[in-house]
């Protein structure tokens, strides 16, 4: 039994070709990132069995769902998958309970993994069970859709931009629930998104698709630290680092500890020792050769230059840095890089103007 998610297929249509050979970890959240038309939704539909590209192959944690070489194709209703679609997909002729039980009732008792009341509790929808889907907000509908998918006892949960149709407030309302699923359920998820923020917040593993091809695939931190990513990931390059809460200071700041040193952020409510995921944008990082004492920038960590690369903006470059094993990116001008004579291996000080905490 080979653990992992494998998908290999080609799709050729007018103005659109998709040629993928993915092998992804069989646990955690894998984000499929790309612009519309990059093929991420098609990839998800192939895994779900809703599309059947000829000559395709897909297998999830040892179960082969499609192998055209052996004329094997498991239809979608025989695959242990849960799918959450982009827009509300609740059945209008059933109430919330009817929707949630629709899949659950069709799963043999021995295969059931989650209990209805537990899942509803986890997603905060217990009080909505008797309502009609028409009487729910967009965020509530998506939570019901997630609960419905979970109760089919999936071995893989596919989420197709589940937040794309929601306003920022509703998104913020659902993200903590997704993080809870991630923490509390041992269930691999494939999360399609075109939002770098969602990816940074949720993903363990990142696959970047562009024009129907996979241009990067690997652990989140590793992929985000690459300098050759396309589109939004390059324009707004950012990395994720893991930190723990060290101390709450009296002046309204919280000190965080990470592998490369310390960073200070606005007061957090979490107790010391709590693990947090930090999102640091390359544009918020500047470089100096010596520690700056006469500066308002508080966060200044020691780092080593690893690599420099051109960006799409004339005169700007991206610098990849390493600090205690964590990767940082800095977006600076070519002129500054020349003035500082930056080159790989050089020790520098990374001044971090802003840190976004993701959990």
């Amino acid at each position: 039994m080979e653990q992992g998610i494998f998908a290999r297929f080609r799709v050729d249509r007018d103005h659109f070709a998709l040629d993928l050979d993915l092998s992804l970890p069989g646990s955690g959240i894998t984000a499929l990132f790309g612009h519309s038309g990059s093929g991420k939704t098609t990839c998800l539909r192939v895994l779900a069995g809703l599309e059947r590209p000829s000559g395709g192959y897909c297998a999830v944690n040892g179960e082969i769902w499609q192998d055209d070489a052996k004329r094997l194709f498991v239809p979608p209703h025989r695959r242990a998958i849960g799918v959450v679609f982009q827009e509300s997909s609740l059945f209008a002729h059933l109430d919330v309970r009817g929707n949630i039980e629709f899949g659950a009732r069709r799963v043999p008792v021995a295969e059931r993994r989650f209990r209805l009341d537990e899942v509803c509790e986890l997603l905060g929808i217990s009080h909505l069970l008797a309502r009609s889907p028409l009487a729910l907000s967009g965020g509530e509908r998506q939570r019901v859709a997630i609960a419905r998918a979970l109760l089919t006892a999936p071995r893989l949960l596919l989420l197709d931009e589940p937040l794309a149709a929601l306003d920022p407030q509703r998104k913020a309302e659902i993200l903590p629930y997704l993080e809870r699923l991630h923490r509390e359920l041992a269930l691999p998820m494939l999360y399609v998104s075109h939002s770098p923020d969602e990816v940074a917040r949720l993903a363990d593993h990142l696959v970047v698709l562009e024009g129907g091809r996979c241009v990067a695939s690997g652990p989140l931190k590793h992929v985000l630290g690459r300098l050759d990513l396309p589109g939004a990931l390059a324009d707004d390059a950012a990395v994720v680092i893991d930190a723990t809460v060290a101390e709450h200071a009296a002046d309204g700041l919280t000190r965080l500890h990470f592998a490369g040193g310390e960073i200070h952020v606005s007061q957090r409510s979490e107790p010391p020792g709590t693990a947090l995921r930090c999102h640091i944008h390359a544009r918020d990082v500047s470089l100096a050769l010596v520690p700056q004492t006469q500066s308002s920038i508080l966060n200044c960590v020691a780092a080593t230059v690893c690599e420099l690369a051109e960006t799409a903006t004339p005169g700007h470059i991206l610098v990849r840095l390493e600090s205690g094993g964590e990767t940082l990116l800095a977006r600076i001008t070519r002129r500054s890089a020349n003035a500082l004579a930056l080159q790989p291996g050089q020790p520098v000080r990374a001044q971090i103007k802003a840190v976004a905490l993701l959990a």
Binding site: H77, A149, T152
Partner: protein, 224 residues
């Protein structure tokens, strides 16, 4: 009301009920096929189903009469099965009416199936429902307004038949004499009072049916 009038009303309601039932039974799968197929036959079958909308009932009646007659292939079949000949019987009326009211049942149901779209069916598949299961548990419930409209229109249209009844069924009391034919007979006999009673009844019936249908359509909320 005269006994012949009551008999005509009873026969009409009986015919319309049987025909509506048969059309729901056979029209629903046909509508499903028309809504879902990518076959090149789709426009052909669709056009055949719609023919009664534009053809004079006499044309359809004429060919059905030939087919069901002693020399026709349907007639030979029914005779060899020991059923006798269908023209001028209630059975013949049922067959003719099923053809004549077909588009009134199939088209609303087909439209309802098409309006559901692909998504709910895909969702059902990801929730472990087989295609057959999906048809019963998702497609039919979501198409209920269309099924209702099809049944009502099929029933009302069958009640309102005249031309094809004369072609196929003639005018046999208790067997093929429907309300529409009875009205014709009354008028021919200059029995305007009796004609009025039946005609006004038909008018009110048809109006109420259509009013109910349009009112329900207006109240229906959009699908989520």
């Amino acid at each position: 009301m005269a006994p012949e009038d009551l008999a005509a009303i009873w026969l009409t309601l009986k015919l319309a009920s049987v025909v509506t039932l048969l059309l729901l039974l056979f029209g629903t799968p046909l509508a499903w096929w028309l809504a879902r197929t990518r076959s090149r036959l789709k426009p052909v079958i669709g056009a055949v189903v719609a023919l009664p909308l534009v053809l004079p009932p006499t044309v359809l009646g004429f060919y059905l009469l030939l087919a069901m007659g002693p020399q026709g292939w349907v007639g030979q079949l029914t005779q060899s099965l020991g059923l006798g000949l269908l023209p001028f019987t209630f059975g013949g009326l049922v067959v003719a009416s099923v053809f004549y009211s077909l588009p009134f049942v199939v088209q609303p149901i087909q439209n309802a199936f098409e309006a559901i779209g692909e998504r709910p069916l895909e969702v059902a598949a990801t929730l472990r429902a087989s295609p057959w299961d999906t048809f019963w548990s998702v497609a039919l419930p979501l198409a209920r307004p269309g099924l209702f409209a099809g049944a009502v229109l099929g029933f009302a249209h069958t009640v309102g038949e005249f031309g094809i009844v004369l072609m196929i069924g003639g005018n046999i009391p208790q067997q093929t004499r429907l309300v529409s034919v009875q009205i014709y007979d009354h008028v021919e006999a200059l029995e305007y009072t009796q004609a009025h009673t039946l005609a006004a009844g038909m008018l009110v019936f048809s109006f109420v049916v259509l009013l109910a249908l349009y009112t329900l359509n207006r109240q229906r909320r959009p699908l989520a």
